[in-house]
């Protein structure tokens, strides 16, 4: 068996169309997630689910404001 025949034999190891589409989807979903700015993610969340997004935004804001004094208090106790 020569080099060319072995090269062609390796082609049988290629992914099926179904598997290939799954790999494509996962890789590009991850890339899109990396490329999308945080602000755009939030805007999209408000568009898709306004109420839960509002609740999440309020909870995030409260935790940002409340965290420093809580950490300070915890350190003082220790």
């Amino acid at each position: 068996m020569n080099d060319e025949a072995l090269g062609h034999a390796w082609a049988t190891l290629e992914p099926t169309g179904h598997r290939r589409r799954r790999i494509d989807a996962r890789v590009f979903e991850s890339l899109d997630a990396r490329d999308t700015p945080l602000a755009a993610e939030w805007l999209e969340l408000f568009r898709v689910a306004p109420l839960p997004a509002f609740g999440l935004a309020v909870a995030s804001a409260v935790s940002v404001v409340a965290a420093p004094p809580l950490v300070w208090f915890a350190r003082a106790l220790i």
């Binding site: 025949a5 390796w10 049988t12 598997r19 799954r22 890789v27 890339l31």
Partner: protein, 212 residues
């Protein structure tokens, strides 16, 4: 002795099963890398399409299942596409060699704790592609199984080297840089592995080889 499996059949199967990216010259690849570094999403996608099947068939030759090969292919290509700024073109190695070095490192990192065991018997393709003739699909499955059995009988290092040669289509110097051996040693290993693989494949695919 029987004749080697017909090359055009493998080529047809390959193109029918998703090997649809016409390979580009190294200059065109370098241009795509530059464009992708500049944020061109289309260039990034074309780079991906150029390499995804090649990475999969290379790591599939080293690993024990399609699922493992799928995970490694995903991780490796994600690393490639998000690390393009670290790629430094070299006169003695193509971009594909850099991609394969990342793929091999991904295999090593992923299977550092458990030794990858290659099996050929535990899997069937999950679903046949709609457009493929069942007879062609059956023949492909038979060839594939024979190749995986023959590969499974090679030592791990030889398996990686022949996969880089025939799956990734790298030359001896490029393989040597990835596995840390001299090109002359790679050529010797390839010669030995080619003889062994060829003989084993012919035996497995012969009428009394149990796979006809």
């Amino acid at each position: 002795m029987i004749a080697a499996p017909p090359a055009p059949l493998f080529a047809t199967l390959s193109s029918r099963l998703g090997g649809d990216a016409e390979p580009l010259a190294e200059d065109a690849i370098s241009e795509l890398v530059e464009q992708a570094r500049g944020g061109d999403a289309g260039a990034r996608r074309r780079l991906y399409t150029q390499h995804v099947d090649r990475v999969f068939r290379t790591v599939r030759g080293m690993l024990r299942s399609d699922a493992d090969a799928e995970d490694v292919t995903q991780d490796a290509l994600l690393t490639v596409l998000t690390s393009l700024h670290r790629y430094a073109p070299r006169a003695d190695a193509r971009f594909a060699a850099w991609v394969m070095a990342i793929a091999v490192n991904t295999v090593r990192r992923r299977f550092r704790r458990r030794r990858p065991e290659l099996t050929a018997t535990g899997e069937l393709p999950e679903t046949a592609d709609e457009a493929v003739d069942p007879a062609i699909e059956l023949d492909r499955a038979r060839q594939r199984r024979a190749l995986l059995i023959a590969l499974g009988e090679l030592p791990e290092r030889e398996r990686a080297i022949v996969s880089l040669r025939y799956g990734a289509e790298l030359n001896a110097s490029e393989i040597a840089a990835i596995v840390g051996l001299e090109p002359a040693t790679i050529r010797k290993i390839l010669e030995r592995a080619r003889t062994r693989l060829g003989a084993r494949l012919e035996a497995l695919l012969s009428p009394d080889g149990g796979m006809a």
